[in-house]
């Protein structure tokens, strides 16, 4: 009996020993690299691509987490400050200037430079000649015009406006506000959109925001002319937010607007009878200036704390392939693949309205990739908005230049302040954790201790009061 028990116990012990050993030996083999991937897309677009990638790359797991455009950037910045940044992250192309210049991204030049000729939108992924990201999707805006309203106003619907003057004439002819019909859609009341619609007129007119040396040159005659033109156009326009403009166009009450391909996703269901066309954004005049539009997109980057650069780069190369980006474009219709191979697809070839987007993209301009772009963006947006609301152009442009000067000085100040300690910023990610200087830690600890003591005193006091009351 006893022996029986011992035997069972012995074999059980052996079994356990074997299992433990198995566990020990198998653990390293089964350990997968799990890479966290933050993106802004509905997971139905991302999950299948990840599944295919994981099937092709055993041992690599990708965990996708969805952000939203409302507060995604906040989350990324906070995570970065806490040292909890994801391995792989999608960034809006106007944000990358800041991230790249602050050195929080991994240089992947050697790993992706062979793809250079095959992809669009390298500019916002490149900083001082090095590549810090992989262009994923690209989007632009073109001129939408309502053919029915063109006919009603006595304009030829087959000839969309080809110059600023023609645009103005068309808007004027269509504009009948008392009937609820408006000429041109002017963005207003939103901080982050107006500049995308206005800058094409500056760029098309030969102007820019920063010159070759990085000096502010937005207050140039080219901008002045564009602002004056925009103001004249506004007289025949509906001044509203983007979604309201898109809605007015969809309902056939807006003659012309600059908008994006996202509209195509709605028209078949919500406005199947809308008779409209798309055209390149008109240049200033015939043979003068050029047709330009805002170019923006999504860049995939690896943060410095990425656990497996090799696997992550493989994933970037996989995700950005035409066959993996086309399904997103076809369904969401927000932005297009950066992979040029995608444009041979019938989806683009057989739809002339989308073809206009592809053509406009060739002359699209990406805003400056600059560490201060977020500040610049709001300076420009404010300037255009002020003009729209009636401030004199000269005054507004002067104020913009002053505002930029102030921001730049502050930036230089900070750079100087952080210069003496390059080693600490160079080797690791500069995050909040690293600023925990002993002094600060001490002060904080003292404060917390003081808080605890204060609480204790308070409690003793309350206890005394209670006791007194009880008595």
């Amino acid at each position: 009996m006893l022996r029986e028990v011992l035997r069972v116990a012995g074999s059980a012990g052996r079994l356990m020993a074997v299992m433990v050993m198995l566990a020990i030996f198998c653990a390293p083999a089964a350990a997968e690299t799990e890479l966290v991937f933050w993106n802004f897309w509905d997971q139905k677009f991302i999950a299948p691509v990840i599944a295919r990638f994981e099937a092709e790359h055993p041992g690599v797991k990708i965990r996708s987490e969805q952000l939203n455009w409302g507060n995604g950037l906040d989350k990324i910045v906070v995570a970065l400050a806490n040292g909890k940044a994801p391995d792989i992250c999608e960034l809006g192309s106007t944000w990358t200037g800041k991230f790249m210049s602050e050195g929080v991204l991994i240089d992947i030049t050697e790993r992706v430079s062979d793809l250079r000729p095959r992809y669009h939108l390298w500019e916002p992924a490149t900083w001082e000649g090095r590549i810090y990201g992989m262009p994923w999707l690209v989007g632009t805006r073109v001129l939408f015009y309502n053919r029915a309203l063109f006919k009603a106003a006595g304009l030829d619907p087959d000839i969309p406006p080809r110059t600023w003057d023609e645009l103005l004439i068309a808007a004027k002819a269509i504009h009948q506000p008392d009937k609820g019909i408006y000429g041109f859609g002017v963005n207003a009341g939103e901080g982050h959109i107006l500049y995308k619609k206005f800058l094409p007129f500056v760029w098309g007119n030969g102007g820019s925001i920063l010159d070759g040396q990085g000096n502010f040159c937005f207050d140039s005659p080219a901008t002045r002319e564009a602002l004056e033109f925009y103001r004249r156009l506004m007289a025949f326009g509906l001044k509203e937010k983007q979604d309201i403009l898109d809605d007015a166009f969809k309902k056939g009450r807006l003659g012309l607007e600059i908008s994006g391909s996202w509209n195509f996703a709605k028209y078949p269901k919500e406005a199947p009878d809308l008779d409209f066309g798309t055209a390149l954004i008109p240049p200033p005049g015939e043979g003068r200036g050029r047709s330009c539009s805002f170019l923006g997109g999504q860049i995939l980057v690896l943060f410095k704390n990425c656990r497996d650069t090799q696997a992550a780069t493989e994933f970037l190369r996989f995700l950005t392939k035409a066959e993996n980006t086309l399904p997103i474009t076809k369904e969401a219709l927000v932005s297009f693949p950066t992979d040029k191979a995608a444009y041979d697809d019938d989806f683009f070839r057989k739809n002339p309205k989308l073809g206009v987007f592809v053509k406009q993209m060739e002359t699209g301009v990406h805003p400056p990739v600059h560490p201060l772009w977020i500040e610049l963006e709001s300076i420009i947006n404010d300037a255009v908005e002020k003009v729209l609301y009636g401030s004199p152009v000269d005054e507004v442009l002067g104020a913009a230049a002053t505002a930029y000067e102030r921001v730049r000085l502050q930036f230089d100040d900070r750079r100087k302040a952080s210069a003496p300690v390059p080693s600490s910023a160079g080797s690791s990610i500069p995050v909040a954790g690293t600023i925990a200087l002993p002094v600060w830690a001490m002060v904080l600890l003292v404060l917390i201790a003081a808080g605890t003591v204060a609480n204790a005193i308070l409690l003793i006091f309350i206890y005394g009061e209670v006791k007194k009351n009880a008595a």
């Binding site: 009341g189 509906l238 509203e240 908005e385 002020k386 609301y389 900070r414 600023i435 409690l459 206890y463």
Partner: protein, 298 residues
């Protein structure tokens, strides 16, 4: 009678320690989630700290506060917030009181009215703002009514003169029910015999309201005003959902400015300084009101 045997045996100093032990779950969260961030943000408000440029973290003394006073946007936001507080507080208080008086008179279905008016205050402000966005749209309900009544249509959230009042109207609508319920509670606690006595003395409706109801619910009125003002200074979700401070910064408020400084421009120190200025304003106002409240009670 007082000291039982058990009480005498346990040293009276040990009691608070036990209390501390039992309170520790709360104390821990208080320390980690309240006191620590509070202390940290207070320190930050004297520093220059760009999240991206942690190396440039440095003590700048009162620079942030000095900068605040020369910051046009902050000044504008301060003015807007003040306008919001001054505009919404009396309207909300008066309307809520009027509504409470009306609802109190309703004998049948009083519960229904109470719930109906209270409903907006349990809906998230983001949802309300989204609904009002279409309400204020060019072909939205409000413009349809305006056109029908023969008034001019407006782009409510885009015109500089109308954007802030539009948001204020929405805020009044959404918060009125909550204060109405508070007033209802106060009205219910007014002793009925006071009214009976007044009626015997021949006091009319107005006299009863003026000399009985108002003095009896004065405490609640002041409470509602205090809460309203504190809430008004902190207005944010409405702004963030509807206008993000536009057009031309006419709807920019203090909390929205703090948000922009912290999360758009990543200037944590500057944002903290703003937050502490806001704290000081609310604190000062609350203290003044507490004082008023006390004096009125005597």
């Amino acid at each position: 009678m007082r000291a039982t045997g058990r009480d005498a045996s346990s040293p009276s100093v040990a009691r608070p320690l036990y209390a501390l032990l039992f309170l520790s779950p709360w104390l821990m969260t208080f320390l980690v989630f309240w006191l620590y961030p509070l202390a940290f943000s207070f320190l930050l408000s004297f520093c220059d700290y760009d999240v991206f440029r942690a190396g440039a973290f440095r003590w700048t003394g009162l620079d942030n506060v000095v900068r605040l006073f020369s910051d046009d946007r902050f000044r504008q936001a301060f003015g807007n917030t003040l306008f919001f507080v001054v505009g919404t507080t009396p309207v909300t208080t008066l309307l809520a009181l009027a509504l409470a008086l009306l609802v109190e008179r309703v004998r049948n279905l009083q519960n229904l009215f109470r719930s109906a008016f209270f409903l907006p205050s349990i809906i998230s402000m983001v949802v309300i703002a989204t609904i009002f966005k279409s309400f204020y749209a060019p072909d939205g309900f409000l413009n349809a009514v305006m056109a029908f009544a023969g008034f001019q249509k407006h782009a409510w959230l885009v015109e500089t003169a109308w954007a802030m009042p539009a948001i204020m109207a929405m805020d009044v609508w959404s918060s009125i029910g909550y204060y109405m319920v508070l007033f209802l509670a106060a009205l219910k606690s007014v002793p009925a015999h006071l009214y009976e006595a007044a009626e015997v003395d021949g006091a009319g409706e107005w006299a009863q309201f003026r000399h009985i109801t108002l003095p009896q619910i004065r405490g609640m009125i002041l409470f509602v005003i205090v809460i309203n003002i504190i809430r008004g200074w902190q207005v944010f979700p409405e702004i963030f959902t509807l206008t993000r401070g536009g057009p031309l910064g006419t709807t920019d408020t203090l909390v929205h400015r703090v948000y922009e400084a912290a999360f758009r421009y990543h200037e944590m120190g500057y944002a903290s300084a703003m937050a502490w200025v806001l704290f000081a304003v609310i604190m000062a106002m609350s203290l003044v009101q507490m004082r008023l409240l006390r004096e009125k009670h005597r």
